[in-house]
């Protein structure tokens, strides 16, 4: 049977086209210069191969114009390529505001994907076509790298840091997902599939109709965790419990025991779960046990989603809050 020999990757995302255009331009440029140099070498080699008669050649046969020419021309060309590449990069690294949120956690040797609406998958990611998808990445152990060749996107998942990438699938189909940063013995087996589907099929899949169990949203899973882990014993809905009530806490300012105040954004919520003694709310004892090592990355995200859901509709969503906070930070008020 004729072996399968693809020579060019599929173009399955909005960014694949522009990236490939730059690729073809560079191939043309490289072909031109390589053939120019190789052609000159071959031509000179044949034309001036060693013969009895010695050709006249001026002593210091150097031409300044030539030198300037082949310094300035390559520089100008490279600036063009730089600018083109830079514009592409800025688009690649700026997710559109309305993109679908997905969390991908790299853990030695599998990808754990989690949609906001709760569907969780391992080494598989269902995405709708025609809508930008922003994948927020992190890793639980070593550096991995989320790479989908058909979408021309790649981003490292670094432990201790949220990085993100975005793409907008254009063609339904199953595309390779690779781990591109060496991460141990089964690095080569840490692969998976990104399944692009028509939006209707995606919604059907998302609501889990064909796989029976209706998915549980992150906030819902967070609520269950909140009770299972015993948080509810201290954090009552009113302030009567030993811990502060968490209603309407997400996104608002929290008075701390040392007098300063901080806005309860997701990083503060995460820190209070994992290192409660770090900054204790005013008027409460630092008695909360640390949940470090008791909850996984994804569970912390669910808890945050649940606390977030305790806000009544009126107050500002978390996104704007931290926006305000960063302006405050830029005025140098934040430490």
């Amino acid at each position: 049977m004729i072996p399968e020999l693809p020579l060019f990757p599929e173009q399955a995302s909005t960014m694949a086209g522009p990236v490939d255009q730059l690729y073809f331009f560079l191939i043309a440029l490289s072909a031109f210069f390589s053939l120019l140099v190789a052609g000159l070498i071959i031509a000179f080699s044949i034309r001036y191969r060693r013969r009895r008669v010695r050709l006249e050649r001026p002593e210091d046969f150097g031409m300044l114009q030539l030198e300037i020419g082949w310094t300035v021309l390559p520089f100008v060309l490279s600036m063009v390529i730089f600018y083109w590449g830079a514009m592409l990069f800025i688009d690649l690294r700026r997710p559109p505001a309305d993109s679908l949120e997905v969390f991908a956690v790299g853990k030695r040797w599998m990808w754990k994907m989690q949609h906001l609406e709760g569907r969780r998958e391992i080494n598989e990611l269902h995405v709708p076509i025609g809508q930008p998808v922003k994948v927020t990445l992190t890793s639980e152990d070593v550096i991995h790298s989320f790479f989908v060749p058909a979408f021309r996107v790649k981003q490292d998942a670094v432990p201790g840091r949220y990085t993100d990438l975005w793409f907008e699938a254009t063609k339904p189909g199953r595309y390779h997902l690779f781990c591109a940063e060496f991460c141990g013995s089964q690095h080569a087996r840490m692969i998976g599939q990104v399944i692009a589907m028509e939006p209707a099929d995606f919604q059907a899949w998302l609501s889990g109709t064909e796989r029976g169990a209706a998915p549980v949203s992150m906030a819902e899973a967070g609520k269950r965790l909140f009770t299972d882990l015993g948080c509810v014993t201290c954090h009552q809905t009113d302030d009567s419990g030993r811990g502060p009530s968490l209603v309407n806490v997400a996104g608002s300012a929290v008075e701390l025991s040392d007098g300063s105040s901080v806005v309860a954004d997701s990083a503060y919520l995460r820190e209070s779960i994992l290192r409660p003694q770090q900054r204790v709310t005013a008027g409460y004892q630092p008695i909360m046990p640390t949940y470090q090592g008791l909850v996984g990355e994804d569970q912390v995200l669910e808890l945050i989603a649940y606390i977030e859901s305790l806000r009544d509709r009126g107050s500002t969503p978390l996104g704007e809050v931290t926006q305000r906070k960063t302006e405050a930070a830029t005025e140098g008020t934040a430490g």
Partner: protein
């Protein structure tokens, strides 16, 4: 011009003294160069065998030749052996050690004992790394990225890191020796603009040795310390930053690729004029380009980290500078090509290697532009496109340059001529085998096959089979020079002082040179590459 019999009995650095002690305690830069030649050939063999094992394993998508861990240890051994123990020391330690005193009319390097210490440190570093490899191997890749190298891997990372740490001092001492020698010990009349371009290239390389190597020494030491004493410098659990490790690592490791290519450029700048009988075109521009590459090379390391979580701001700056550093290399290629114009070109083995170098280095350099442009690098980073790019520069460039230099100065090093026709055949085999091995990898890379993959999807198999076929031809091609060089030591024709009728101080002394290089220190009056002055009529003394 038959070699006069009297030269056979003349005292030269090879027959001045016999016995193991005379070699192991020598202070003669020529003997130390020979010691380095033998030791890096051993290291090249180790790295080469690992490469063949990798290529054989990649014949099948399931990677049946060896298990995952063995494969990871193989590509790490290939990387460490080739980068730290072959490519970095090859031309500087072998040809540089041998030729710099000869080319500048000195009796030896500034610090001969330090030069011998440098070789012993190289052997010590190599020994430690081989110990790490033999007692279980190391599987972090030659890049030692944290937190995998500090927490993830349970292989001999600490001893491999210490081996690399120790071998770093070998190149520091070599660089130091070259800088002081070139500055303080040039023959009378040998002004800077009369220095051969090989010496300029070694000078630029030594600057990188001095400024870059200590940074990888401390980085690799921190990895070893973090692993053994469990203190957290790059440990994310303590707030450490794995991306900071990459900054420290690539601050040396990118200039290190210029350590590998600059000397090869120096060799080509010596070979091209000799075999075209022309003065080099644009001497000043090539000399300044060497310095420009060395200094600009320190500004661009961030292009290894475009997708590692580095900020967009920093990536834009590094991408811009990476394009700037490509210009001096382009200038050199055009100057070499212009040197061929109106020459009298002979195609002896060194010239074949030099022309091969220009062609392959051009492709390597241009594919570097693909990787420097941000939009493309997001797709091709850490794929086989990168593997193909740096092999075009390292194997197509540095190794071709090294072999060209070895053939060009072999009569001076050994006093014997290598078999010319066999050398030309092996050069062509190496050229073809190389292209068959690495050109398919460009296509594989853009298809998206990640590097360091032991198993891969079936649709990549055909290109991998081509690559493995090429690798076996290339492997065979590399065996030939080792064989006929060793053979020529014993049975080769005796070489005259200047078999290529070349210009340069090193050809003004007998081959092999006497222990003190020159009967009396030569005085230099005219510019280098005075080939139009040398009578072109004589037939070259070619075996």
């Amino acid at each position: 011009m038959t070699p006069d019999p009297s030269s056979r009995t003349a005292v030269n650095y090879l027959n001045v003294d016999y016995g193991v002690r005379s070699w192991l305690l020598t202070k003669d830069h020529k003997r130390i160069g020979f010691l380095y030649l033998v030791s890096i050939t051993v290291m090249f063999a180790i790295g080469g065998l690992a490469a063949l094992a990798i290529r054989l394993d990649l014949l099948t998508p399931a990677g049946d030749l060896m298990g995952d861990d063995t494969y990871n240890k193989m590509f790490t051994m290939h990387g460490v052996a080739m980068v730290f123990f072959f490519l970095v020391p090859s031309i500087p330690a072998v040809l540089g050690n041998f030729l710099i005193p000869l080319m500048i009319g000195a009796r030896d390097l500034a610090f001969p004992r330090l030069n011998l210490a440098s070789w012993y440190i190289f052997i010590l570093g190599g020994g430690i790394t081989l110990y790490a490899v033999l007692t279980g191997g190391v599987d972090t890749g030659w890049t030692f990225y944290t937190p995998y190298s500090t927490e993830g891997s349970n292989t001999n990372v600490t001893s491999a890191a210490l081996g690399v740490f120790v071998s770093g001092f070998s190149s520091i001492l070599t660089g130091l020796n070259f800088l002081v020698t070139i500055h303080r010990m040039r023959a009378p009349g040998l002004r800077w603009l009369r220095l051969p371009l090989f010496v300029w290239a070694q000078y630029a390389t030594s600057i990188i040795f001095i400024l870059g190597t200590p940074v990888i020494a401390i980085t690799v030491l921190l990895v070893a310390v973090e692993r053994s004493l469990d203190i957290g410098i790059f440990d994310p659990a303590l707030g450490g930053d794995p991306i900071l490790f990459q900054h420290l690592f690539w601050f040396y490791s990118h200039p290190a690729v210029y350590i590998m290519i600059l000397p090869a450029m120096g060799v080509v700048s010596e070979i091209i004029p000799c075999f075209t009988r022309n003065k080099i075109f644009g001497y000043k521009f090539i000399a300044v380009s060497s310095l420009a590459i060395a200094l600009l090379g320190f500004l661009v390391w961030g292009h290894h980290m475009f997708v590692s979580g580095q900020s967009v701001n920093a990536s834009l700056i590094f991408s811009f500078l990476s394009f700037a550093v490509a210009i001096p290399s382009a200038v050199k290629v055009f100057n070499w090509t212009a040197t061929l114009y109106k020459g009298s070109i002979g195609f002896e083995a060194p010239m074949l290697y030099a022309l091969g170098f220009i062609g392959l280095f051009t492709i390597g350099g241009l594919t570097g532009l693909f990787l420097a442009s941000l939009g493309l690098d997001v797709h091709v980073h850490d794929t086989y496109f990168v593997v193909a790019h740096f092999h075009y520069i390292m194997v197509g460039g540095a190794v071709m340059g090294y072999l060209g230099g070895l053939h060009f100065w072999w009569p001076k090093i050994s006093g014997k001529l290598y078999p010319e026709w066999l050398a030309r055949v092996s050069a062509v085999i190496i050229f073809l085998g190389f292209n068959l091995t690495f050109f398919p990898q460009f296509v594989l890379g853009y298809l998206g096959m990640p590097r360091r993959y032991h198993v891969y999807p079936p649709e990549f198999q055909v290109l991998n089979v081509f690559s493995t076929a090429g690798a076996s031809i290339l492997g065979f091609g590399y065996l030939l020079p080792i064989v006929y060089f060793a053979w020529s030591m014993r049975y080769g024709k005796v070489a005259s002082a200047n078999p290529w009728n070349a210009a340069g101080l090193e050809w003004a002394t007998p081959s092999p040179p006497p222990p003190d290089n020159f009967a009396e220190t030569p005085v230099v009056e005219d510019d280098p590459y005075g080939y139009t002055r040398i009578d072109p009529g004589e037939e070259l003394q070619v075996a």
